[in-house]
């Protein structure tokens, strides 16, 4: 299948007053259209940097990033979902969801608005559309945040640990919800996570990163049985994959200390 996102020899340096931090070292990977990819790596290795570069919030120091065949990033093709839901408390659920449409005021505004309404109905939030975010549960808030991202119809979704603020039980069910929504909307997604089992249960491909300066250590293609992340956790190769990634990440740590 065609690639939606390609990182070609991407290097990135952070500038601070007293230091220059080498964050990404020759990062190469590709993400296919309509696939779900995850980035895992030791904390602080530069996973979020990769997302910021993809979103066009940062520019690479060298190398090339191709999005949908273009080497100039069009922010309108990207939807970014953060660790926190960042819902605006003074806006109703509906007003939060249409925030992006309000900002970009696209030509086909009415179309987008009716699409957003459709999403709300489809994912059981329509009855809450006039409520303020504070009356929603953590899982619902995260769903609203996802629909806010989807309402702009991005081609690529960037998910920066979007479940880490939720308790474990909610996390598993929201994980399923989000996965289902992304798959049924036929979106491509790039997930950053600390949670290896979350990465295995959701992804078609896992990109394992080394410690800083991050470089791609391994590309793992997954083919687990099961329709939802929760079901995939029952696959017999789950434990083996977990061990493999775990050892890759922990080896990293021992190498570092040596």
């Amino acid at each position: 299948m065609e690639n939606l996102l390609t990182f070609k020899n991407v290097n990135y340096f952070y500038q601070t007053k007293n230091d220059e931090i080498f964050a990404l070292n020759n990062v190469n990977f590709t993400i296919e259209k309509q696939s779900f990819a995850s980035l895992v790596g030791p904390s602080g290795c530069g996973k979020t940097t990769i997302l910021s570069l993809t979103a066009g919030l940062l520019k690479p120091s060298s190398g090339e990033i191709l999005l949908d065949g273009e080497n100039k990033i069009n922010t309108k093709k990207i939807g970014y979902m953060f660790q926190k839901d960042f819902l605006f408390e003074w806006r109703s659920v509906w007003k939060n969801i249409t925030l992006g449409i309000e900002i970009q005021h696209p030509k086909n505004k009415d179309e987008k608005l009716s699409f957003a309404e459709e999403l709300l109905k489809k994912y059981d939030l329509y009855n809450f559309r006039n409520q303020k975010p504070r009356s929603l549960s953590g899982g619902m808030r995260q769903r609203v945040a996802l629909i806010r991202t989807l309402a702009l119809e991005p081609k690529l979704l960037l998910l920066d640990e979007p479940f880490s603020a939720l308790d474990f039980q909610t996390r598993l069910s929201v994980c399923d919800d989000v996965y289902e929504i992304i798959k049924s909307e036929k979106k491509t997604a790039l997930l950053v996570t600390h949670d290896i089992s979350e990465a295995i249960s959701m992804s078609d491909k896992i990109i394992v990163l080394s410690a800083r300066p991050a470089t791609v250590k391994d590309n793992i293609i997954l083919n687990l049985e099961g329709k939802t992340p929760l079901k995939k956790r029952e696959d017999k190769s789950f434990a083996r994959l977990f061990d493999k990634i775990w050892s890759e990440l922990t080896n990293e740590k021992t190498e570092q200390t040596n």
Partner: protein, 270 residues
């Protein structure tokens, strides 16, 4: 109906609890009024029996009589209106201008850093010290009083609003940026609405500060107003006039505060 049914199902303990809450509230309101009546009554009695000299401390009945004469001659309303007018204008100018300056300082980081020390110095400077300068520059009278009022309120408005603007979560700004928002949109869709609670508390502070400003201005230079009446009353040893004017001042200031708190309630209900 439904609510009533629900209440019946509550335990006896809950009933007792609600009863206690109501009783406590009653006690508080009762003693509030009691303190006021006791204070006024004691004041009246002590002066009536000449234990305290009403020439120096006035008395409630004398204040009421004074208010009556002032009201009859119409001067009470003229003076009250002048001070109220100065306060409201000063309050409005200081709030709007201070807010706009805060927006400007938020907008441009360099400008903010350049002006930071000046704002700090202005904030710690006792504005009354500028009195003579103000009179020389804008002339004696109403404009000097309004200027004083503005000077007292504006720095705190700018400082409070700026710190509210700067306390917006970085992630929310990033979210808007990822949606391709420009700086105007970040300001109007996020920074300003996000700082509404701080804005209301600035309004509350400014209600108090603007009265300080206008009365201080009237002490400096005035031919009319409640501050003028207070100074004049003091100079001719007419404590009744001082007290009566202070009383009117209390009512007006409370009224203004009450309006702002109504605004706050309306905002919170939204």
């Amino acid at each position: 109906m439904k609510k009533q049914n629900k209440q019946i199902n509550f335990s006896k303990a809950h009933k007792e609890y609600v009863k206690k809450l109501r009783r406590d509230k009653f006690v508080i309101i009762f003693f509030r009024i009691f303190v006021l009546i006791a204070f006024l009554g004691l004041w009246e009695l002590l002066t009536y029996f000449n234990i305290l000299d009403p020439f120096f401390v006035s008395s409630p009945s004398r204040i009421i009589a004074q208010l009556g004469t002032l009201a009859q001659s119409g001067t009470l309303f003229t003076h009250a209106w002048i001070t109220l007018y100065e306060t409201l204008i000063g309050f409005a100018i200081a709030t709007i201008l201070g807010y706009l300056i805060a927006v400007l300082l938020w907008w441009n980081e360099k400008v903010r850093k350049i002006f930071e020390p000046y704002v700090v110095v202005l904030n710690s400077l006792p504005k009354i010290a500028l009195g003579p300068v103000i009179i020389l520059w804008v002339g004696a009278g109403t404009s000097a009083i309004i200027t004083m009022c503005v000077l007292i309120c504006i720095v705190i408005t700018t400082m409070s609003m700026l710190s509210a603007f700067l306390s917006v979560e970085e992630g929310k700004i990033l979210l808007l940026k990822s949606m391709n928002a420009n700086k105007f949109q970040i300001l109007f869709k996020l920074v300003l609405p996000n700082s509404m609670p701080e804005f209301i508390s600035v309004l509350k502070i400014n209600v108090g500060m603007s009265w300080v400003g206008s009365i201080m201005g009237e002490y400096l230079t005035s031919k009319a107003g409640l501050g003028y009446l207070i100074v004049y009353g003091g100079q001719i040893f007419k404590i009744d006039l001082v007290m009566a004017s202070t009383f009117v001042l209390c009512i007006l200031a409370f009224g203004m505060y009450y309006l702002v708190s109504l605004l706050e309630k309306r905002y919170q209900r939204r």
